[in-house]
Symmetry: C2
Subunit: 143 residues, 2 copies
């Protein structure tokens, strides 16, 4: 155990911190972590089951249950594609849209607060480094 934290430890602790905020804000919006991630992914428009499972990194069979539960709760709807009757599109309901907006706004507020005490230069540098690291990560959470 060194006296100062290395980059790897810092990254793990930051992840622990952000995850806790994520699930706490989710709980406040009555959303599980998996539901919040799914709704955020659907924010930019409806997706087929295969696309959605790819974005979320889940098996299609796992997604079936996730969509089932979200549909029962009125957050999303399934719509069959008239051009390919095997395909299903998942899209946000008005209630789902409202929930994801509340979630997004509150989480953004709480995350920005983590950097609130940073001098502007340090905050800008940190954000730029972040962008550089996550350049290739899928957009599970957008501005």
């Amino acid at each position: 155990m060194k006296e100062t934290l290395g980059a790897a430890s810092g990254l793990v602790r930051l992840t622990f911190l952000v995850q806790n905020l994520y699930s706490e804000v989710g709980r406040g919006c009555d959303l599980t972590v998996a539901q919040a991630q799914m709704l955020c992914t659907l924010s930019d428009g409806s997706l087929g089951m295969a696309e959605l499972s790819g974005s979320l990194g889940l098996e299609r069979s796992s997604l079936t249950g996730l969509v089932d539960r979200a549909e029962q709760r009125g957050l999303v709807v399934r719509e069959t594609d008239p051009r390919d009757r095997r395909a299903v599109n998942v899209e946000l309901t008005p209630a789902g849209t409202e929930a994801v907006h509340r979630f997004h706004d509150e989480l953004t507020r709480r995350l920005d607060a983590l950097l609130a005490d940073f001098p502007p230069t340090e905050r800008e540098r940190f954000t730029r480094s972040l962008r550089r690291i996550v350049a290739d990560v899928p957009a599970v959470f957008a501005d």
Copy 2:
């Protein structure tokens, strides 16, 4: 959707990235995420159930099952405290110690690689900012 990523989005995506690495490295060591977190927390020494559940942010009843499964797999053992016969100490077995070392080393390697292309000054600045953000986060992963 802005053209450039804000700090909040960057933090969420970084978390997504680190979580994926964490579970991937865990899978390589035959550890679930929850198990890896528990073993890392026990790296510095044995803890009682109450302390351990506090560090991990779990209910004590949830921890019971987590410890049960890890004990069945030979990663930890329960030892009763002779001075307080209600209390149970959880500690790593040799196999648990070996597993957590492999996990820790591999994860550190993979996380450090994320910053490998950074110029030294940027890497040092980023790490310093990280330290500042996570100063109060429990030590679920140490150097």
